[in-house]
Structures are given as C-alpha cells and as structure tokens.
C-alpha cells in the first residue's frame, strides 16, 4: 500500500490485514510506556483545509506513539490566505522532506490530485474529502464491530441520518459490505443521495420497523446547517422520527450495538441516556481510532511492509534433520 485514499480501492484482505495489525497496535497503547520506535525519523504533516478536532488529534496521537515527527499546516494562518494554490502548497511541503501528508479537504478527490503531484517517496492519507470518503473512520468502525462481535459476516447494520452529506456513510457502506455485512440506510428521502444506483444497500424511511432486525445502529450527526437548507422541517421532528431514544433502544436486540462517529448532538440523533448505555461503543470507537491510524501509518511508512502481502517471492526451504 502506497497511499490510503479510499475504502473503494481496498480489498477485503487489505482491510483484514489492517485489522490484524490494529490488534498489535492496540496492545502498544495498553503498555505502561505506550510508545514504540517503529517510525523514528519519519515526518508526517497534517494538511487540514477543514475543521477537525478528533480526527487530527487521533492521527497525532497515533504518529507520536510510533515515534514519528509531526507538523501541522494550519490553513487559517498560512500562505493559503495569501492566495497560494493547493499544488504550490503541497510541493512546498514535499520539498521540506516529509514522508506522509494526511489531508482533509472540502472537495472530493483532493487526496488523489495530491498523490499525482508527489513523487513516489511520499504517502497520502485521506482524512476526509468532501462528501466522498473517510477511510480511516470506516476501518476503525469495522474494527470496533469486529472487536465486539468477532466478525461482520452476516451482521445487519443500519446507518441512520444524513447519508447525503456523509463521507463516513460512504466509506462505512463499502467496508461493511466488503466484510460480509448487510447494510440498510435509514433516513428521510431529503437526506438520501439523489441516486443510490450501485450502492449495495437497502433503504428504509421507517426506523421503528428496522430496529428489531439490527445488529448495529450507526447514527450519523444531524448537522445544524442542514436546517437552513430546509431538508428537514425541524430538529424536533427529526428526533421524533429518527432519533435513537430510550424507548426505541428497547426495540433493539440485547446484543445490538449503538455507534456514532462523533461529535454527538445529544438529544437530537441520540438521546443523552442512550449514548451512555453499555451497548454504546462510541468511546471504544475513539480508542480504536488511535490504534487503527497507527496501523495505517505503519503500513504506509514502514516501507517494505506491503511486500508481505505478496508471498510469491518467499521460497520454501528444504529441510533435513540435524545430526546430534
């Protein structure tokens, strides 16, 4: 793996390899000194054109636990304000000698564009591009389900809320179905993409009807700015029909999980009490996010690691017993 740009470009084997690695890095986080020298001397730069707190902190923590050095390119107080183009910004950062660029941008496709400008030495990680993809979120979400339930095979996962504007939903749908789960999108028609052609999903507008069949209820954040676009009549109406309240949680099976990518609007898409139930693994998602991003950074920057996937060049030795 050279870059991590999207879930769509990965295979089931790739995702499972990341999960397996994540097990090892989760153990590192539990040590009394949770730091390993694996990426000593590597330099990672955060290039965030959109606000982000948890994703950036999570990446930062992951890089530091691997002993990589990090730099932040803060768009608000930089040459971007003076009118520098994206290409010039990226080439400038590259010339300083970085090993990876973790990018978030409001426009879909920016990570691909950046990857084509860079030479082969530099890896690009997509930390969210427009409404398109957020691959590390899908890797940590699927890891969390796997950790709780052993496997995603045969699971029924409902993604509830603003699918239309959600890069998390797009990446999650791809990852979940690749790993053998069945996905149902649950939202009012105004919050679904104009076309779902080619999406391997079912669609429902009735949360109450679907809840009893779910293994995972994955709630998306109801963004306040959608109100001004008149996509839902009011937040109260949204909560009444699609909010996961204590009453609705009773309809879930006993072993069903509640997940949320954060930040939560308690009282809108999820009630305050539900967010704190034992079945809510929202904090586990955050914890697994660090280990997942360690695995991703290690796979990309611990060069040579990808060759392990290709075992053709490993020869089988002919063994003979040692005398004595």
């Amino acid at each position: 793996m050279k870059h991590l740009l999207s879930i769509a470009e990965l295979t089931r084997a790739d995702i499972e390899q990341v999960h397996k690695l994540t097990d090892s890095f989760a153990e590192v986080s539990r040590r009394s000194i949770p730091k390993v020298p694996a990426l000593r001397g590597k330099n990672v730069v955060w290039l965030f054109y959109e606000d982000s707190t948890r994703t950036r902190l999570s990446f930062e923590q992951a890089a530091k636990r691997l002993s990589a050095d990090t730099m932040t390119f803060s768009v608000g107080s930089s040459s971007v304000k003076k009118g520098e183009s994206l290409r010039d910004t990226v080439l400038t950062i590259e010339a300083m000698g970085v090993d990876a660029i973790v990018v978030r941008h409001a426009s879909a496709g920016v990570p691909w564009q950046i990857a084509t400008w860079l030479d082969d030495r530099v890896s690009v990680v997509n930390a969210g591009d427009g409404w398109h993809e957020h691959p590390t979120q899908a890797l940590l979400d699927s890891y969390t389900i796997r950790e709780e339930r052993g496997s995603l095979d045969g699971m029924h996962i409902g993604i509830v809320g603003d699918i239309k504007h959600s890069r998390v939903a797009r990446s999650d749908v791809l990852a979940y179905t690749m790993l053998g789960a069945q996905v149902t999108l649950i939202a009012p028609p105004t919050l679904l993409p104009p076309s779902l052609e080619g999406w391997p999903v079912q669609v429902s507008h009735d949360l109450d009807a679907v809840l009893p069949t779910l293994d995972v209820a994955y709630l998306l954040r109801m963004q306040q700015e959608r109100m001004t676009e008149y996509l839902v009549p009011s937040l109260r109406e949204y909560t009444a029909r699609y909010g996961l309240t204590l009453r609705r949680v009773d309809a879930l099976r006993d072993d069903a999980l509640v997940m949320h990518p954060g930040p939560m609007n308690r009282g809108v898409e999820i009630s305050a009490e539900v967010a704190d139930l034992p079945r809510s693994v929202i904090i586990d998602q955050v914890r697994n996010g660090v280990a997942t991003r360690m695995a991703v950074l290690y796979l990309l920057l611990g060069q040579g690691a990808d060759r392990v996937l290709d075992s053709d060049d490993i020869t089988v030795p002919e063994l003979q017993e040692v005398v004595g």
Partner: protein, 167 residues
Amino acid sequence: MDADDVRRAIWRMAHEIIERNHGLDGIVLVGLQTGGVGLADAFADALAEIDGTTSPVGTLDVAMFRDDIGIRPVLPEAVTDIPVDLDGAMVVLVDDVLFTGRTIRAALDALNSYGRPRSVQLAVMIDRGHRELPIRPDYVGKNLPTRRDEMVNVSPQGVDLGELVKS
C-alpha cells in the same frame, strides 16, 4: 536433534535456570514471537515439574522495535502479552534460534516498555553463530555451526537444517 534430544535439552536448561538463579523467585519467562512461544511454555512445564512452582509466562513481539523497518518487510506476527509487571523481575527471554542477535536487541528495547527487570537472561534452543551485535546466550540447547544462507527450523519434533531453495 530429534524430539527426545529437544526434550532433554529443555530439561537440562531448566535445571540450569534454577541453579543459576538459586530457585525460581521472581523468574518470568518471556517467549519471543513466534518461535520462542512454544519453547517458553515447555520451559515453564519443566520448571514446574522440577521445582514445584509455576513461573509466569509472557509473549513478546519485537517487530516494532526492530532496526530493519523500512529495509525488509517487518510486520507484527502476534499480539504481545506480558501478564505481570516486570519491575524487579528476573526475565528469561526464550527464543528458538540465536543468529545475528538483532531480534534480542529489539527485545531488550521492547522490555523497557513494560518495566525495569532486575536482570535479563537469554535461553535459546540453537545458537547458530554469525552474531552482528555483542549478545550472548546464557542457556543453549545446542551450538550449531551454520552457513549464513542456511535455515534452521526448531519444533518439538526436532531441529532441522536446510538451505534456501532458489525457485
């Protein structure tokens, strides 16, 4: 070496561990992933049989502490599991084959993350030479002169020596 030879070597080294440490007080066996894990369990069984006390056994994956990350494929093989605090412990690192010594160097670094052992000793089934670092074993099953391009395979069924076959 056949299965009996391996068993006898484990038995002898277990006695040496007890002799050197005047008992098993504070001893923690740590098997290196993946070849040392089974051996560490075998040592624990032998020690328990000889001395009547059970020693804690852990496993250690040193992939993230290796100095050849970026030079060759280095992926963790399994999750590290150290069940006890290593502060003040007498750690016996267990591996199947001692070769360049780089794995052991990485293991010494990795152990630091779990505490400060009072001492660290090294037990290996096979010492095949070709050291690249100033590291020596405390307990050896068998010294086995090898060429660099040979392979050594250790299992409970015995020890095998082979050559890499160019396909």
